[in-house]
Symmetry: C2
Subunit: 225 residues, 2 copies
DNA sequence: TTTCGTACCTTACACCGTTAGGTACGGCGG
DNA sequence: CCGCCGTACCTAACGGTGTAAGGTACGAAA
C-alpha cells in the first residue's frame, strides 16, 4: 500500500504530459469531438476540474497534442543528402498526420517545442546543403504546404482503410446516380480510374513529392552551380 | 402591411440558402467559434429551433458554408491553355480560402454541388488538353494539395494583414528570447529574411505554383509528345 | 367550415468549458 | 509533538451549446 489513497486505486498521478498523451489516445480512438475535459478526466481516473491544476485550459491541451504529433515526425537526418533527408521527412510527416487525422486541422495552435525544433532542423539541413536563405524559405513553404495539404485531403476521405475508400466512393456515386449526368468527367474518372482495383489515393503522394523535389533540385543547381 | 406578422417586423422568410449565407458572414466576422445556432437565428430575426425547419442540423449548415466558398472559386476557363487555366484557378482558390480562413479546416464535410462542379471542370480542362487519366489524377492531387496546404499555412499565421505578421512574429521572437540559443537557424531565418521589410508570406505561393506547373508540363510533354 | 401544410414558437435535456471555493494529506519548521 | 503549507484532488454551480419533443398561428385548399 504505497499509495495514500487506499488499497483499491493505486493510480499514478496526473501530469500535463500524461494528460496530453491520454488526450491524443482519446482523439485517435473517437475523433476530436469525443475529447472533452470530463471524458479526459475520467480516462485519467480523476474529476474534470482536477485537470486545471496541471493545465491552463483545453487549448493548452490541444497545443500539447499537436506538438506531440510533431514530435513523431522524424527530424531530417544530418548525414544524408538533402534530397533524401527531405524525402524521408515528408513521408514521416504524412504517416504521422495519417495516424492522427484530427491533428492536421489544428495547426493553427501556437507552436510548441517539438514544432520549433523540427523547423530549425529543416532549415539547418537545407542551409547546410548550400541553399540560399530565399530558396530555403521557398522550399520549406512548398514542401510543407504540399505535405500538409495532402494530409488534409487524405483526412477528408470517407474512410482510412484503402479498400473501404473504394466501396465508400462507390456507394456515394450510386447514391448520386445523377452524377454521371451532371458531372460526367468526375464520373468517368471515378469509374475508370479511382474505383479500379489497386488504386489507393495515398499512392499519389510519391508522384507529387518527386516532382517537387526535382523542381527544387533544379532551382538549387541553377542558383549555385 | 403586406406581412402577416404585424407592422413592426417586415423581415423576409428564412431559407436554407439565406441561413447559410448569413452563417458565412458570421464566421467571417468572428471566426467559426462565434457561430452558434442561437446566434445565427438571432441574426436572421428568428428563434434557434426555427432553423431546424429549413436545415437538418448544424453540420448541414457547415456543409453549405464550405460549398458556398467553393462557389467563389473561378472555374477553369475553357478557352485558354490548360496551364493558364490552372494558374488562374489556383490563385482564385487561394484568395477564396484567404477570405474565409475558417473554411479550410472544414473540407472534411461532404462535398456539395459547387464542389463537385469544380472538380468536374478541372478534370474536363486537363483531359481536354490531352492529359491521360493517370496524369490528370496526379496533377489534381498535387495542385489541390499544394493550394489547400498553402491556405492552411496562411490561415495559421498570427494575423492576416501583411504588416502585422511581421510585428507579431517579432514580438513572438522577443517573447521567446531563448530561441536564438535553442533554435539558431530558425532565429537566423526570422531575422535576416522573414522580418525584412517587404517580405510577405503570401508571395511564396507563386514560386511553388510555378514550379509545380513546370513539372506537370514536363510530365505531360514527356508522355504525349 | 373544417382540414392541412407551412413556418414559426416554447420547453426541456444532456453536455460543454470554466469560475469559485473547498478538503485530505505528506512533509516541514518549531 | 503541533501547526503550517503546498500539493493534488474535490463538489457545486453558471452560462453556453446542439437538438428532441411538441405546440401554435395562419393562409390556402377541400
Amino acid at each position: 500500500m504505497a499509495s495514500t489513497r487506499g488499497p483499491e486505486a493505486p493510480r499514478d498521478p496526473v501530469s500535463r504530459d500524461r494528460a496530453v498523451r491520454v488526450a491524443v489516445d482519446l482523439a485517435d480512438a473517437g475523433g476530436l469531438e469525443s475529447l472533452s475535459m470530463r471524458r479526459l478526466a475520467q480516462a485519467l481516473g480523476v474529476e474534470a476540474m482536477s485537470l486545471y491544476y496541471h493545465v491552463k485550459n483545453k487549448d493548452d491541451i490541444i497545443d500539447g497534442m499537436v506538438d506531440l504529433v510533431f514530435d513523431e515526425i522524424a527530424l531530417p537526418s544530418t548525414d544524408t543528402p538533402w534530397r533524401t533527408a527531405m524525402e524521408d521527412r515528408a513521408h514521416s510527416a504524412r504517416a504521422a498526420w495519417a495516424r492522427h487525422p484530427w491533428a492536421i486541422s489544428l495547426m493553427r495552435s501556437t507552436p510548441g517545442a517539438a514544432t520549433l525544433r523540427h523547423l530549425d532542423a529543416v532549415i539547418a539541413c537545407l542551409r547546410g546543403a548550400g541553399f540560399s536563405m530565399t530558396l530555403t524559405a521557398h522550399a520549406m513553404s512548398l514542401l510543407d504546404s504540399y505535405v500538409d495539404g495532402f494530409a488534409l485531403q487524405e483526412a477528408s476521405l470517407p474512410l482510412s482503410e484503402a479498400g473501404d475508400v473504394n466501396t465508400a466512393t462507390e456507394s456515394f456515386l450510386a447514391q448520386q446516380h445523377m452524377m454521371s449526368g451532371a458531372f460526367p468527367h468526375l464520373a468517368e474518372m471515378a469509374q475508370t480510374h479511382i474505383l479500379q482495383p489497386g488504386y489507393a489515393y495515398g499512392d499519389e503522394f510519391a508522384f507529387g513529392l518527386g516532382l517537387i523535389l526535382d523542381g527544387i533540385e533544379a532551382a538549387h543547381r541553377g542558383a549555385s552551380g
